[in-house]
């Protein structure tokens, strides 16, 4: 009985990591634009075209890899349009992002009808999905816990490896620093001779790259199909995460794991006979709750001051002589 419970736990964690991957990828993509000071509500659309063109590419070439490349290319095109309008033309980022999302939805459905003559979804038709990666030695090392690290599709590994890479990118590379400067103090960037336009273009395209991977994972990962609006708000959840994480990769990871857990857990609840409509609403409710609860960066001054005084008091109790503020990054 204990073993069974254990297995169920492992399965839940595995499911959580799996459902976390796409939203983590797209949110990490959004972290580039967030850090560069762009509010990118167009993630949803980039992800959707990524998913659609990944399926197209996969059918056309018979290779999942080419499919991923096609998906990423499509997302990059959307990211480029976004950048041209928002960075060069200084259009409102919310308007452009929303319009691109609507465009993505309409375009994929129109093309689906034109190419496949169907509405709703593309299933079968020779879609090649991404293979599962078996890590050698995982079974010997972890036994029944092996599924925790082995047997995912490649994008899951890409997503989780991207977190430390992005932390290093922002901390240790010139481009990472430039992106942060452009986002936090554009005037300083300008004074230093950094081209804000160029950096924002780069950030947008990097965002499109990861959003495209996320889309490809949706349609070629665990299920190999495309359905109308299959990104189903994940891009918006990613934006919610980005707002309260401020684009910091580690906080993004934490937020995405919360969603992955909500997703995996709600799927499990469904098997217990809870009405599916309510279950389906759970991830959105979690996103809203997190957004509301964590928007404390801009809480009214009084509350913020109270919290800060309390923190200082608590810190003082623990380490009376230390200066805790200074050791914190930024």
């Amino acid at each position: 009985m204990e073993i069974l419970a254990n297995l169920v736990n492992v399965a839940l964690i595995v499911a959580m990591l799996r459902t976390t991957a796409p939203i983590l990828l797209v949110a990490l993509g959004g972290s580039f634009t967030t850090k560069a000071g762009i509010f990118n509500i167009g993630l949803e659309g980039q992800m959707l075209v990524g998913a659609f063109f990944a399926v197209l590419g996969s059918i056309w070439s018979g290779s999942a890899f080419v499919g991923v490349v096609c998906g990423v290319a499509a997302a990059l095109v959307f990211a480029l349009i976004f950048a041209v309008l928002v960075v060069s033309f200084r259009a409102n980022e919310v308007v452009v992002g929303l319009a691109l999302n609507i465009l993505a939805g309409g375009m994929t459905i129109s093309m689906m009808k034109a190419i496949f003559g169907t509405r709703g979804s593309i299933v079968g038709q020779g879609i090649v999905g991404l293979p599962k990666v078996q890590i050698p030695g995982a079974k010997a090392l972890l036994g029944s816990w092996a599924p925790l690290i082995s047997g995912y599709t490649p994008m899951v590994y890409v997503a989780f490896l991207a977190v430390p890479l992005l932390i290093l990118f922002y901390k240790r590379t010139r481009l990472g620093l430039y992106i942060r400067v452009v986002g936090e103090k554009p005037e300083a960037a300008e004074a230093l001779g950094i081209s804000i336009t160029r950096i924002r273009y780069i950030a947008s395209l990097l965002c499109g790259l990861l959003a495209g991977l996320a889309g490809a994972h949706l349609s070629l990962g665990y299920i190999t199909m495309f359905t109308e609006n299959m990104s189903s708000g994940r891009g918006f959840m990613a934006v919610a995460i980005l707002i309260f994480s401020n684009g910091d990769p580690f906080k993004v990871l934490a937020g995405c794991l919360l969603f992955g857990f909500a997703d995996a857990f709600s799927l499990r609840l469904q098997t217990f006979g809870f009405p599916s409509y309510l279950i389906l609403a759970v991830p959105y409710l979690v996103a809203l709750a997190a957004l509301f609860a964590l928007s404390y960066r801009s809480r009214p001054k009084i509350i913020r001051e109270t919290v800060e005084t309390m923190r200082r008091l608590l810190a003082a109790e623990k380490t009376p002589a230390a200066e805790p503020e200074k050791t914190l990054p930024r």
């Binding site: 509500i41 309008l85 033309f89 259009a91 375009m107 809203l288 509301f292």
Partner: protein, 346 residues
């Protein structure tokens, strides 16, 4: 006046550019653009019934558009009109079938409840937006998904019509919005929308409340120095916008479907937002842009029958219109510097 004329030209150019790109896309999906456009026009204005059908589609887009205008003018991006529409539609249906009242009064009570439902649904994002500065775009978008799922749940698990499929029982005839013509489902909802658009335009132009709301939208700092309670004003604006969104749902339920059903108003909220953006936040302008989008929608029904193009091609065209409107602001700004100081950066 010349400024306004130039803005109008800008919108026309934007629409033309969007239609041109749309034509290229139609070519790409192996269909003749001319045939598609002719079919669209024929489907929208081909005969008496088709024109009435266009006006029928225009109604919810217009009301949602006015809701969006209120938000835009007050500096709030209410992207949750879709959700408010669903809640309002459901609430109106609930009153319509469960609460027998005398004719006329019944309809008014149902509409009022729809308005309240829309306002209530937006009140949480509005509270957090104005008190904690939580981004209202994201919170209202996410609440759309919840609204659609929640109303579906209510409909299917709590109030399903016996023997029916994911719809509530029909509302009582005493709550119907009366039809204008005998040959169409077109109803007095259109008049409600028109009156509302004019009323909101008047409110913004001629009343102190409207003035302070648009002041908060265009120059919040200035408004604050001027002694306006900016937070309170923002809250009221979002609440009003949500209330009108709820009204749109109520009108749709009481005037057209006479029941609430799953997916009863797909995308009207977004169409309304786009119409309002194209009209630059002017309620009167929204009457015309809503008519334009209503015609596109109505025409697209025939599109699916007569051509290979899917009706979502009009969604593509709408998105392209907004993209080209947003793109050409820079050109305008280059021309003269004052044109750049617009209420909200487009």
């Amino acid at each position: 006046m010349s400024d306004r004329l130039r803005a109008f030209y800008g919108q026309v150019v934007a629409v033309a550019v969007a239609l041109a790109i749309g034509a290229i896309i139609i070519l790409m999906v192996d269909e003749s653009p001319a045939k598609v456009f002719v079919t669209l026009v024929r489907g929208a204005f081909g005969d008496q019934a088709k024109i009435a059908g266009t006006l029928l589609q225009t109604t919810p887009i217009l009301i949602c558009g006015v809701a969006a205008c209120v938000g835009l003018r007050g500096g709030m991006f209410n992207v949750g009109i879709e959700g408010q529409l669903f809640l309002g539609g459901f609430a109106a249906a609930l009153v319509g079938f469960a609460l027998p009242l005398p004719s006329g009064l019944h309809m008014i009570v149902a509409l009022v409840v729809a308005v309240l439902a829309g306002a209530a649904w937006v009140s949480i994002p509005a509270y957090f937006r104005t008190r904690y500065n939580t981004n209202e775009v994201v919170s209202t978008i996410l609440s759309n998904y919840v609204a659609v799922l929640l109303t579906s749940y209510f409909t299917i698990f709590l109030f399903k019509r016996p023997g029916g499929w994911s719809e509530t029982p029909p509302i009582l005839p005493s709550a119907y919005l009366p039809e204008i013509f005998s040959f169409s489902r077109l109803n007095w909802g259109l008049v409600v929308g028109l009156v509302l658009a004019v009323a909101v335009a008047w409110l913004f132009r001629h009343t102190a409340r409207g003035y302070s709301a648009s002041m908060v939208g265009s120059a919040p700092k200035f408004a604050e120095y001027g002694g306006i309670d900016v937070k309170r004003q923002g809250f009221i604006v979002l609440l009003a916008s949500g209330a009108i969104g709820g009204l749109a749902g109520g009108v749709e339920t009481l005037g057209v479907h006479h029941r609430f059903m799953e997916g009863f108003a797909p995308g009207f909220g977004f169409d309304g937002l786009i119409a309002a953006l194209l009209a630059n936040g002017s309620p009167i302008g929204t009457i015309f842009t809503a008519l334009f989008f209503g015609a596109l929608r109505s025409g697209s029904l025939l599109l699916e029958v007569d051509t290979n193009a899917s009706r979502e091609i009009i969604t593509v065209i709408q998105a392209l219109i907004i993209l080209s409107v947003s793109a050409q602001v820079l050109m305008k700004r280059r021309g003269d510097s004052t044109a750049g100081e617009r209420r909200w950066k487009f």
